[in-house]
Structure formats: C-alpha cells, structure tokens
C-alpha cells in the first residue's frame, strides 16, 4: 500500500478547524492501545487521566497553574514559528527569567512593598529576553543555526541554576538542601481566589498575553510583517521588511514571555528557587503552539489540554502505579498526530493499493473508483 498526496486547489477551511480534533481523537485511540498494553482497562484509565483531575473546583485551579506557563511560552513561540524562526530554547529562557526575577527576593529580602512584584516580573522578562538575544545575535551576526544554539543554551541554563541554588544563593538556614530562602510575602504572586484554590495571577498574564499577541498578529503591521516573512522571505525583502530585525523581535518577544512565565512560576507556584523548576514547560509549549495552530486563541485551549495531560500523568501514577512519564508520551503523540492531520489542510490523501490478482487471473486495480473520481 502506498500513500499519495494530491494538492488541494486551496487550503481546506473544514480541515483547518477539524484537524486538532481529529488529532486528539487519534491520540485517545493510541492512548487506549497503550493503556491496554500496560495491562490497564483503558476506560478506567481515561477516567482517572482526563476526568477525575478536573472534577472539583480546586483541581481547576491546579489546571490553571499548569496551563499558565504553557500558554505564556507558546504564545511567544507561535510568533517565532509563524516567521519561520525556530526558537526551541524557551526552557532556558524560562529558567533565566526565574533567576533574574528572583534577584530581589533572594538578594534583597528586606525590600518589601507593592513595588516588589512588578519589579520582579519586569526583571523576569528582561532575563528571558536577554538569554534569548544570544541565539538571535549569533543568527543575525554569524548566521549560526538558531535551533542548535538555543537548545544548547537550555543545558547551560539548567546547570547555571543548579550551581546558583547549591552555591552562592543557597539558603544558609536550609539544612544544606539545595534551595534558596523562601520568598517574602510581598514577593509572592497573589492568588486569584484564595478561598477556592491556588491559581495565581500567572493565569491572567497568560490570557492577557494571548489576546495581546492575537491583536498584534491580526490587526497590526508588525503581525503582517511576521506572516509575510514567514511564508515568503523574498516577498518580505521586497516589501522592505528586515529579516535580521525580525529575528531579534521574535526572539526577544518569545524570550520575554518565557521569562515572565519563569518568574511567575517561581513566585506563584513554588515560592523559592530549586535545582529543577520546570517539568519541561519550555518543550511542552512547542506542542501547545502547534496544537493551537499557532493561533494565540487556539493556544489558550491547547494549553489547557496539555496542562490536563500533566495532571492526568500524576493521577495515573498515584492511582494505577504507571509512571507519570505517560504524560510525556501523550504529549509527544498529540504533536505527531497534529502535524500529520495538518497535511489534510493542503493535501488530499489517497491510498493506492497494490494491484490485486483475481482468482481467474485478471488483474484488478485496487482503487478504480478513486482513479475515475479524479
């Protein structure tokens, strides 16, 4: 059997809406097979994975906590990817945002008041943007591949954070645990509804960022520039849009948003710096960006779905004793199916069967109907 692609005259509006849903359905099917192979009743597992983690109000707050960094990072990345610029080091920019933002509560704990949080957030964005400017600079100055440099910088950032919390920033009263001091009250991102659950302002930032980027992409010249340079760099050059400026713009923007996500996570959900502050948000956000079709509003929905895969992973681990790595597998499969289904937007897929031989010896083409239909 062979797969043949037939180009559609124009992109299919139907499939550009349906494709994420088809992808999600395929992921569920593949997930059912996986659970069955692990010796678990798939229906039971799915209930624990997808339903139970969001059946109570406080759990919805946990969902918002996990979704906030995913949405913030993915919204920034979507601008990069639209411009055909590949920042895949958001995890590192997330960490540097967290480190920069933590300068105030760790080094100046006596500094208190309502100014602390805004300053921390600002520093976080600066940190993420600065760290993202390295691959942008290398790409524009030396045309170094930004995929590899931004990714290498993730490992460097992780090691740098590890050194900070085990070395100069370690809490002297922390009984030798590798962590900084607990942030003071005025350095903790306030919760939205303290009576109902833990969700903090980070989720609001994520929604605001999504709407802002959506407006930018659809209503401003800058958004137009991004789309033109992404789909046709040549046309962009003729229109006078600078490619190098675009590289810097997208990297700084996505870096700043990743940095904001980093400091929000540390200040809101964790309350101190630790050697590991992210369960791979920066990488999962890549999936979120694609699942949301690189559209900021789609990304909000996709971020909630992917946040649920994290919660579900924890739930099946405690209820069924399956490794919480199952979340990673779900996320990876989802991205695969999304990319595959996106092909349907631009192409029709035909399956060409091998020529079948009838018992009487006459050859029969397997798909004569399709052949005529063309």
């Amino acid at each position: 059997m062979r797969i043949e692609l037939v180009k559609r005259p124009q992109r299919s509006a139907l499939f550009s809406i349906l494709s994420p849903f088809i992808a999600f359905a395929l992921t569920i099917i593949a997930g059912a097979i996986m659970f069955a192979l692990l010796g678990v009743n798939p229906l039971n597992a799915f209930e624990i994975y997808f339903v139970e983690p969001i059946s109570q109000v406080w759990q919805l707050h946990e969902l918002a906590i996990k979704a906030a960094p995913l949405i913030l990072i993915a919204v920034g990345l979507s601008v990069c990817y639209k411009a055909n610029i590949w920042n895949i080091g958001a995890e590192g920019q997330f960490i540097f945002g967290a480190i920069f933002g933590s300068i105030i509560p760790v080094l100046f704990p006596q500094f208190e008041g309502p100014l602390v949080i805004p300053l921390m957030l600002l520093l976080g964005m600066v940190g993420g943007a600065l760290y993202a400017s390295i691959p942008a600079f290398l790409k524009t100055r030396f045309s170094t591949n930004e995929i590899l440099t931004s990714l290498m910088l993730v490992y460097v950032a992780q090691l740098f954070l590890d050194w900070l919390v085990r070395g100069p920033w370690r809490d002297p009263q922390g009984h030798g645990f590798p962590q900084t001091i607990q942030f003071g009250d005025s350095a903790v991102l306030p919760e939205l509804m303290p009576d109902a659950g833990r969700a903090n302002w980070g989720f609001v930032f994520a929604l605001v960022a999504a709407v802002a980027i959506w407006l930018m992409m659809s209503r401003t010249l800058k958004g137009f520039e991004v789309r033109v340079l992404g789909s046709s760099p040549r046309a962009g050059r003729f229109a006078g849009f600078g490619f190098n400026r675009m590289v810097f713009f997208t990297f700084l923007l996505s870096g700043a948003l990743a940095g904001l996500a980093g400091i929000s996570e540390v200040s809101g959900a964790i309350g101190q710096l630790q050697p590991v502050i992210s369960p791979g948000y920066g990488f999962t956000a890549i999936i979120v960006a694609f699942l949301g079709r690189l559209n900021p509003l789609g990304i909000v929905a996709a971020g909630l779905v992917l946040a649920l895969t994290y919660l579900g992973g924890e739930a099946v681990q405690s209820a069924l004793g399956i490794s919480d790595k199952v979340a990673r597998v779900f996320q990876g499969m989802l991205l695969f199916f999304v990319l595959g289904c996106d092909t349907l937007i631009h192409y029709r897929i035909r399956l060409i069967g091998m020529a079948l031989v009838k018992p009487n010896g006459a050859k029969l083409e397997a798909a004569p109907k399709l052949e005529e239909a063309r």
């Binding site: 797969i3 043949e4 692609l5 180009k7 990817y81 590949w86 895949i88 290398l138 030396f142 045309s143 170094t144 591949n145 995929i147 590899l148 440099t149 990714l151 290498m152 910088l153 490992y155 460097v156 090691l159 740098f160 590890d162 050194w163 085990r166 070395g167 990488f283 999962t284 890549i286 999936i287 694609f290 399956i322 490794s323 790595k325 199952v326 979340a327 990673r328 597998v329 996320q331 990876g332 499969m333 991205l335 695969f336 990319l339 595959g340 996106d342 092909t343 192409y347 897929i349």
Partner: protein
C-alpha cells in the same frame, strides 16, 4: 604513559556514540532531509538496547535491539515527513519529545538494575602489547564499527553511483525526480539508516559507556551530533575529527572535575554545550563555505507531482 593511554581510550569511548549518530545523520541530510529527532532515536536505542541486554543477558542481542529500535522509531519520522510531507523541523522535534517520554516510561522498571557490558576486544598476545595493543586491538567492538562505518559511508557517498544519486537528491529533489529517480524511496532508506545509527549510538551508551539505564542518559549527545554534521560541512572525515574533538572536551571536563580544579563542576559540565555553540559560530561565519556545502534542498518537503 599508562595515564595517557587511558585518557585516549576514554576519549575514544566518548567520541564513538557522537561519531555514529553524526555519520547516520550526515547520510540523512545528504539526501535532503533534516531529522532533528536524533536525540529521541538515540535514547530509544539506549533503552531498547539496555532492556534487551538485561532480559536476555546478552549484550550482543542488546546491541542488535538498539539498532532495530532506532530504525523503527525513525520510520515514524519517515512516514510523517516523506509520505505526509509534514514540516521536518517540527516533526523531528516531536520525535525527540516522544522518544524522551517513551524511553522514560519503558525504562522505569530498568532503573537501578545491573546492566550487561559488551566485552572489549581481546586478542591473546596482541591486545596486551603496551600502548598500541590497547589502543588498536583492545577497545570495545562498537569503536571498530564506528570507524568502519565512517569509511563505508565515505566510500558509498563519493565512490558509488548510488551515493552520487543520493547526493543529487539532496541537492535538487525536483531534478532528481524528473530524471526518474525514486526520491521518496531513497529518502526512506536514508532516514532508516540514520535511525539505525542513532539507535546503535544509544546502544553504545547503555551497553558500553555506562552499562546501566539512567533517564535522559543521552544528555544532549543527539543534538551535539546534529551540530557535528554542520561543523563537518557534511563531510564524513570531518565528522570523525569533530567527534574526537568533542569526545576530548567531554572527557577533559570530567577529568578536570576529578582533579578538583577550583571551578564549580556545573561550569565544567556545561563546556561541551558551550563548545558546540562556539564551534557552530566559527564554522557558520564563513557564509560562502556553508552555502556551498549545505545540501540545497535540505529540510524542504517534497511532494512528487504526477
């Protein structure tokens, strides 16, 4: 003398997985396909190799399993990018993400289990000759495979007709298609070869380098292999040189940590990654050279028109 020999041996051991994975990816990229899933295929090879070795007790079966797992995993990428013409960058990334997750899930039962190690070559009388015996006749089998593989790929790409065809596809898939060459079939085989190599590299990690299973044990080596291909400007012998330079950096920082040099270990650990960036910058500064050597249709999806 003994110390020097030992350091050279450890450098060779550190360089071998980089070399194998990079040689495989070089063939893939020469055919015009950019597979960013090397890290994922490598870690799948590592977990598959360890698992098969642990369950059967035979490191050789482990090595074979690593190759097969890597090749099968790359098939996923091939179907997506070649048959469904998906974006190669995004698909490669998702292959890596899926591989890291899947290997972690499969590997939970292997954590802390004793592994099996491939024995080093031991020819009575010859392998015990000082210096030369150890360096040339006393290394692990995968080392010899890696050298043979490099030579074979050099010969294949530049001395055979099929190799020439493969390179022509990488430079212009539309022209190759017009000449009646089965572009997609060649690319399938190239991608699967790259997957088998990445799997073998992973098998080396879990069956020779550190014979145990540790989550994320590839530690970015797949990405470094990708950088090596760029660094080598798509030439096999330069991949060989690059892999040994990186092996030396990797071992150098480990030795520096062991000697207690007053630099935090985290900084030393980040040296291989920083070195990758520096090397990439140095090589890509010369735009003309890079442009000349990059396969012209690298990373571009191809849908044959009929």
């Amino acid at each position: 003398m003994d110390i020097t020999v030992n350091i050279l041996l450890t450098i060779a051991t550190a360089a071998t997985p980089l070399l194998i994975a990079a040689i495989g990816e070089l063939v893939v990229e020469r055919s015009g396909v950019l597979n960013l899933g090397v890290e994922g295929m490598m870690i799948m090879g590592a977990v598959g190799g360890f698992g098969a070795g642990y369950l059967t007790g035979s490191p050789w079966i482990g090595l074979l399993a690593a190759i097969i797992v890597g090749a099968l995993f790359s098939l996923l990428f091939a179907v997506m990018t070649l048959s469904l013409a998906t974006n190669q960058v995004a698909t490669g990334l998702s292959l890596t993400l899926l591989g890291l997750g899947l290997s972690g899930m499969i590997g939970t039962t292997f954590v802390g289990q004793p592994g099996v190690r491939l024995p080093n070559l031991d020819i009575p009388g010859i392998s015990s000759i000082p210096v030369v015996g150890k360096l040339i006749f006393g290394q692990d089998p995968v080392f010899y495979i890696s050298i043979a593989l490099t030579a074979a790929v050099m010969w294949f790409l530049f001395r055979t007709r099929t190799g020439l065809t493969l390179r022509s596809i990488g430079d212009s898939h539309t022209s190759a298609h017009a000449l009646g060459i089965k572009v997609i079939r060649y690319r399938y085989l190239a991608v699967i070869f790259g997957g088998a190599c990445a799997g073998l590299a992973g098998g080396h990690l879990s069956l020779v380098y550190t014979p145990q299973w540790v989550e994320n044990m590839s530690a970015g080596r797949g990405w470094i292999a990708l950088a090596l291909v760029v660094f080598a400007s798509w030439r096999p012998w330069r991949v060989l040189a690059g892999a040994y330079i990186f092996g030396a950096v990797w071992i150098g920082q480990l030795h520096a940590q062991a000697f207690g040099i007053p630099v935090p270990s985290q900084f030393l650990s980040s040296l291989p990654y920083l070195a990758t960036i520096v090397v990439l910058v140095l090589i890509s500064r010369n735009k003309r050279l890079t442009m000349m050597n990059t396969p012209a249709s690298l990373g571009q999806p191809f849908v044959p028109d009929r």
